[in-house]
Amino acid sequence: MSVEAAVISSRSQSESRGWWYEVTRHTTTLLRYGMVGVFVAIFVATAILDPSFLDQSNLLNLLLQWAPVGLMAIGMTFVIISGGFDLSVGGTYAGAAVLYAGLVNYGAPVPIAVLGVLAAGIGAGMVNGGIITRLDLNPFVATLGTGFMLRGLALVATGAAPIIVDKSSFQWIGAGKWGPFPIPAVTLIVALLVFGFILARTIYGRSIYAIGGGNEAARLSGLRTDLLRASTYMLSGFMAALAGVIIAARLGSGQADIGANIELDVITVVVVGGTALSGGEGAIWRTAVGIGILAVLGNAFDRLQVDTFWQIVIKGGIIVLAIAADSFAKRRVEASRRTERADLLRRTGNASPGLAADPGKNEG
């Protein structure tokens, strides 16, 4: 039955679908994509207040700056959607930076060093995934611990002194350019597209959503849930290692003390985009929006010379707002779904939604 026909055949209730119904429906849509609106608003406002914001060099510089956090946020998005959490990315990041510098200083060719560091990042993720799935540890605590260990190891290995590398090829991946585009910016964009596609459109991606939204159901359906879960930590480790390589290359040195608390920035980006910490829901495009919001806002603050300490306060406020908006949107969606369902039942004039005694009555 078409909606029109349903409405016509309905009893008088359909007229009572009032303006409030319409408003709540649109609010819902707005909130689901609300963070995109926030991003656009901030972007436009910043551009108006400070037209030089739109300079190509400024925008590319922003991408360059946010590449490490952005890359780690991609891995984190997978972890969080699968129902996990990874606090070890900061440690992996610092460890990777030190390892990369160290390897190159010991004479390893740059490409080999990069691959070695990335493999080590995957290895760190494998350890995380292994202890979380095999020993059934809480991911929050487990990765907090491994994160400390990795950063500690980096400090032990360097004595907290930067390992300076005097070799131009070392810097290419962080400071090099591809035409006008900084390599890290290109890397971030490509990674967003590739992993966005993987998460949204592949069997692997869909399986990640499934284990995050209902692990037992996924397991009973025959998915290898432990393996999938561990793989998200491996991806996160890989991304953190890549970010560490990029920052070491950009700075020209590996330092064990870089990126203190960077894991919190990474999680902020993911959450502000609207990926649910409870797992099962979220997307890479959301993370991209999260990067956009924080990058533009930070840039605007700097240009408007907002006090750094106040920036921290505002960042905290944004996190709370983002989560509150998300939770409100969920309740609204829930409520409007119920209303729609009840509405549909009333309009079809059939009390039994699960009954196909007379299929003609419910369908068409």
């Binding site: 959503y209 159901a217 996924a218 397991r219 025959g222 099962g280 009333r346 939604p353």
Partner: protein, 507 residues
């Protein structure tokens, strides 16, 4: 239900009277012009399909929602909807279907939550413990009052809720599906308590899908359909057929065809052991038959299923599939390769990924089939899911809707549907019809029937003996982790099975 005791007859004054109650939500009329009187000390059964308006009525009775128009009088006083506690002050307490016990608190602390016993400024734990034991005795249950609530079975947790309600000295107790997760034994105990309370002048409103239960307990039965009251009559004037007809607005045939022929043996398990739970269980299932497992909660039914799909790593036993000896599965993937799938007891937490839409849930067992080179193909996803939705008669057949928003019956159809096209040889179905409405129940069982006639071997567990007896070709009685009897249909009656189960439990 087996116990049909004399109904308490206390046609006293009116406890609750609803006068032209309507409730409108934006765009929907949930209740329309309800006039209803509930007498003091009666058990008043409230039945209706999902979406009929029962829960809205419940929310109004408990003061959670204010009616759009109309009045509620409680013992002659008009209920003022100024706070959610208004109804409670009038002596109305609800025990909800969803558990509200606090997992990390002790059993006793849960019962006395918000109604602690005090002696001066100190909580009188001794008095609470005494009262807890009294309540336990009253209900005929044994619950360790110091146990953390989350270590208790769901049944015990439900019992705590009811104890909490009774403790709050309610004059009217509204019970929303109170027995959905209780064992037969616990149910009987609860029925006793309910009758006791009614005899002591407490008014009970019982909302339940279990019509037998409503029949056995209620003095009056009210039927809601589509937000209206269809009828409210003394129980004696109802028959089950009339009741179902009133709920659905039409007669419905509940019989399932039994014209299948059981074929060759598909699965044979011998000497199945799960330490402390199952002892030397053996069973065989043939192509095209439905084997029913009857047993009380705790008899090992669910554990047997879990062992068969590799969820219990302590399980051991010998297994043959199509006559071939195979290794006992150590994971659901291995079980799947052997052609064994489980439709679990708890469809929300084990059967479905609630956040994903119907099509993902249905395709979760066969993602490769709807993908090309690891990339999902949207048209194939939708096509496969639509075909399945059609076969399980999903209503409405919208495969894009998140599973969370489906009714219980539709959710169950999705959980069944995801195995239909996976060439499974043995389908283990645990409590397929728990908590779903009458119409969907019939459809679920006819679906199982259809699957069996296509050659699948179905093994089914249900706490409702009637469901097992009516829908199975053969019934195995399990008790204390052992097979205690095998019944060959036809002509099997519930009481035959019951007597075996009860006799065995008594030993």
């Amino acid at each position: 239900m087996s116990t049909v005791a004399a109904r308490a007859t206390t046609p006293g004054a009116t406890a609750i009277s609803l006068r032209s109650i309507s409730k409108t939500y934006p765009g929907v009329i949930a209740l329309e012009d309800i006039d209803l009187d509930i007498a003091t000390g009666e058990i008043h059964g409230l039945v209706g399909e999902n979406g009929a308006g029962k829960s809205t009525l419940l929310k109004i009775l408990t003061g959670a929602h204010e009616p759009t128009s109309g009045t509620v009088e409680v013992f002659g006083e008009e209920l003022v909807f100024d706070s959610p506690l208004a109804a409670r002050k009038c002596g109305i307490t609800a025990v909800y279907q969803e558990l509200t016990v606090i997992p990390a608190m002790s059993a006793a602390a849960n019962v006395f939550l918000g109604q602690e016993r005090w002696r001066g400024p100190l909580q009188d734990r001794a008095a609470e413990r005494r009262r807890f034991r009294e309540l336990s005795d009253l209900m005929g249950v044994q619950i360790n009052l110091d146990a953390r609530a989350d270590t208790l079975s769901i049944a015990d947790q439900q019992t705590l809720e009811i104890m909490r309600g009774i403790e709050s000295a309610a004059r009217v107790l509204v019970l929303d599906e109170p027995t959905a997760s209780l064992t037969l034994h616990e149910r009987e105990a609860l029925y006793g308590v309910m009758r006791n309370l009614a005899a002591h002048g407490v008014t009970l409103v019982l909302i339940s899908h279990d019509l037998d239960e409503v029949f056995a307990l209620s003095n009056t039965i009210t039927v809601l359909r589509d937000g209206r009251m269809v009828a409210s009559r003394p129980t004696a004037q109802w028959t089950k057929g009339k009741l179902i007809a009133a709920m659905l607005g039409e007669e419905l045939s509940v019989k399932v065809s039994h014209r299948r022929k059981a074929g060759a043996e598909v699965l044979r398990a011998e000497g199945v052991q799960v330490p402390g739970i199952l002892t030397d269980v053996s069973l065989t299932v043939r192509r095209g038959e439905i084997l029913g497992l009857a047993g009380l909660v705790g008899s090992g039914r669910t554990e047997l299923f879990r062992a068969l799909v590799g969820l219990d790593l302590q399980a051991s036993g010998a297994l043959w599939i199509d006559g071939q000896r195979v290794r006992w599965p150590r994971s659901p993937q291995e079980a799947r390769k052997l052609g064994i799938a489980l439709v679990p007891e708890d469809r929300k937490s084990q059967g479905l990924v609630l956040s994903l839409p119907v099509h993902d849930n249905m395709n979760l067992t066969a993602l490769r089939e709807v993908a090309s080179g690891g990339v999902l193909v949207r048209s194939r996803e939708t096509r496969r899911a639509r075909a399945l939705a059609d076969r399980v008669r999903l209503q409405p057949p919208d495969v894009r809707r998140p599973a969370r928003y489906l009714s219980g019956g539709n959710q169950q159809k999705v959980v069944l549907g995801k195995w239909i096209d996976c060439a499974m040889r043995v389908l283990l179905v645990d409590e397929p019809a728990r908590g779903i409405d009458v119409g969907a129940k019939v459809e679920i069982f006819s679906l199982l029937d259809e699957l069996a006639s296509k050659g699948v071997a179905v093994v089914m567990v249900s706490s409702e003996l009637e469901e097992v007896v009516e829908n199975s070709d053969r019934v195995l009685a399990l008790s204390g982790g052992r097979v205690v009897h095998e019944f060959d249909q036809p002509g099997l009656t519930q009481s035959e099975v019951m007597s075996i189960l009860v006799r065995d439990k008594g030993e």
